[in-house]
Amino acid sequence: MRLSVFLAIILALTTPAYAASSVVTDHASSRLIAETDGVEPGGVLSLAFAQELEDGWHVYWKNPGDSGLPLEFKWRLPEGAEAGAIDYPAPHRIPIGPLVNFGHEGAPVFLTSLTAPADAPVGSRFDIALEATWLICADICVPETGSFSLSVPVVEKASPDPAQASLFAKARAAAPSPLEGKAHYAVQGSTLTLDIPAVDVDEAYFFPDMAGVSEPAADQRIRKKCDRLSLTIVGAAALSSIAGPLSGVVQLGEGDNAQWRSLTAEPAGVAPGDGQKPGGSIIALLIAAFIGGAILNLMPCVFPILFVKAASMAKAASGDAPLLRRHGALYGVGVVASFAALGGLLLVLRAGGEEIGWGFHLQSPAVVALSAYVLFAVGLNLAGAFHVGASVQNLGSGLVAGRNGDFSAFMTGVLAVIVAAPCVGPLLTAPVGAAAVLPPFEGFSIFIAMALGLAAPYVLISFAPGAARLLPKPGPWMDRFRQALAFPVFAAAGFFVWVLAAQTGGKGLALAIAGLIAVALAARLWEWGRTTKGFKVAALIALVAALIPVALLKPAEAAAPRAGAIAFDAADIEARRQAGERLFIDFTAAWCVTCQVNKLTVLSSPAVKAAFEEAGVGYVTADWTNRDPAIERALASFGANGVPLYVYYPAGGEAIALDQPLTERRILAALNGAPG
């Protein structure tokens, strides 16, 4: 006779009937034990289901892992009584060949509770019956069942049964205690990231309560940063169904010093590890978005347009201050409305499962071509090739087609947003990336903060009394300056044409040039139309003709990566990493100005090239000029939502996303193993 069986029989003989009920099966002996000597009417009776398992055999946690089944209780209770959930002891990983199960060996104690009916008369008995089913496995599995019954007196005042006190105390001590501090999680594709307050351990493992959320046999990568610890977990089929809080148990450390903490993680759009509370980080993101938006005003894409706007304001400032304020406000509304539209569209498409990111509108050749047209037309107008609006004096309304100054102010705001997109610099990468994964309200707020930042300088100047006085005095120089500004705008148009060529190849370039000629023709015809009737109609026809090439644009096949570069392929990259190769991934797009600047200055510098060569780093180009869901997912896994992004993989090490702005020093530091 096995010792455990013997013990069970001894226990059964020596314990009063109300306190415990025992069953011995082939591979386990199990007892149902009440903690107290009775139950009060309406009171809670704590129970332990204590098992002693045969050596080498295990039973399962609530999430059994790759195979197996959890404990199942079927109660037969007096009417009005209620059964509580099962509190499982801390789970252990039990490897079975290449699989891993979550379960318990030795002598697990499962705690649960029953609530007695409130009207149970004192002096009567609370009779309960339990049919418990458990799967017990060694190499092989056997389902076992046991029937248990207890008859507990209903009493005025229940007292703990001293004989069971240590069993209950031990079981409670062995159960996972709640994690101190907040836990967050994020899901990116099939990867789950859990973020908890830092603990001084080198190993950690998360057991989700729900089965099928994670791959039990996969290693969980631990990463410590400041006061946070994050775990990267390979997800399984049920991960995609997770919404709202995610509960589970995290094991901290291994072996004798291991500790288990139960937790409920809240979804966090901001990828974990940023060392801030969610409230703090959203505010930081909003501030970053606002500042980034304000800095956009100085970018080459936006500056000429706003300068002309400001110059026209200086002229008007001498007289009509209320009109100035009105146009300032309308410009702000234009900016905010455009960002709201773009942000809303982005979030709606996200919700629909589209894999898109910031700058996505520039992935459409038609949008790029139209941007080139608009900028070209603006340049022609600035240069004086044609005039729009009633008065040549009113530069503001001349900027964008339309006679109405109000409409013009609004459209200037819209235009500022459209042309700003290629210049969305490193400052905005993090907020925009976060916006796409945050809940809709927070995500939308970030777009609005960015819009307010972009609109703020101009709106403030138009509202601040006296601010306009700081602007240079109007004079004949303004016409010349305005004409001079045509050339940066032509340069911007040229940039869009170049992007288009990258997207659509030589044929697209030819179509775009044909379209631009039609735009120029329309401008000339329009100018003639100012004196001779009929030409304006011809101008509109020419403008419509300019749209025909736009409709014919088609994205070309993926362009060849730069000489010596490796084209982006997630599987290939993983294979190269497994083989111990060092890799540098350049996430870029033709329409991303920052990317192009980095490529020309930093990435092509002799020092960087030599360092790459010396260290044997493979240069991977992930070209996002046209839509590519694989690159989109890769960006998302770094919490980024747009380009540029630079990632370095040391040999056998973890990925390092380089801080921006990108500098030679940062790249060399990363290659030398210093923190990025």
Binding site: S67, Q188, T191, A217, T232, A236, A271, A657
Partner: protein, 200 residues
């Protein structure tokens, strides 16, 4: 500025996982010897629907389906739909459920089972290619070689024989939908049962 590097998470899988192939993608190719001594490969069944069933006759969950006749019934229904049914035995030699050709044939006859082939996979190659974790576990591959369903046979994760009645047979549901040219509504479920007894 918020540091992007702080946001960096694993770009690709964090470590080796025992995970199955993606649903609605090409099913992993395999070839192997059957209990009839033939060599079969997935490629030869192109143009036909293929069901894979992992089994282990010593496993109480498998026994639930065979002793109640549920698995045989499912096999016959699949046969009528023109499906190639391949029962796979991935138990390693010396482990529960391992069978050589003779024993595999005895089991088939003894249960009155109706598989088209019993694939002997003692090295667990096919099992691992499909991420087979439990017995029973099912996979459905369409005419084009695309994996359309993977997971449990039904929605009753228990070894209790009485659970067969009223259970939803996921495999037959998926089979019906694929045969009708419809998308499969439940494409992936968590399989239940005994762990597959791999050698390593």
């Amino acid at each position: 500025m918020l540091k992007l590097s702080l946001l960096a998470a694993a770009m690709f899988a964090a470590g080796p996982a025992f995970a199955g192939p993606a649903i609605d993608a090409a099913a992993p190719a395999f070839a192997g010897e059957t209990s009839a001594g033939e060599t079969i490969s997935l490629a030869q069944f192109k143009g036909e629907l293929v069901v894979l069933e992992w089994t282990n006759d010593g496993c109480p969950f498998v026994q639930k389906h065979y002793q109640t006749g549920n698995m045989q019934k499912t096999q016959r229904a699949a046969n009528e739909a023109g499906v190639v049914w391949i029962t796979v035995i991935s138990s390693a030699p010396g482990k529960q459920g391992h069978a050589d050709a003779a024993r595999a044939n005895e089991l088939t006859v003894g249960y009155g089972a109706a598989p088209d082939h019993v694939l002997l996979d003692p090295e667990g190659v096919v099992g691992k290619a499909y991420g087979a974790k439990t017995t029973p576990q099912m996979a459905l591959i369409d005419e084009k070689g695309v994996l359309r369903y993977a997971g449990a046979i039904d929605d009753r994760p228990t070894a209790d024989h009485a659970s067969i009645e009223g259970a939803t047979n996921y495999l037959l549901a998926a089979l019906g939908e694929v045969s009708a040219g419809k998308p499969v509504s439940v494409r992936e479920t968590r399989p239940y049962g005994c762990s597959v007894k791999y050698g390593s």
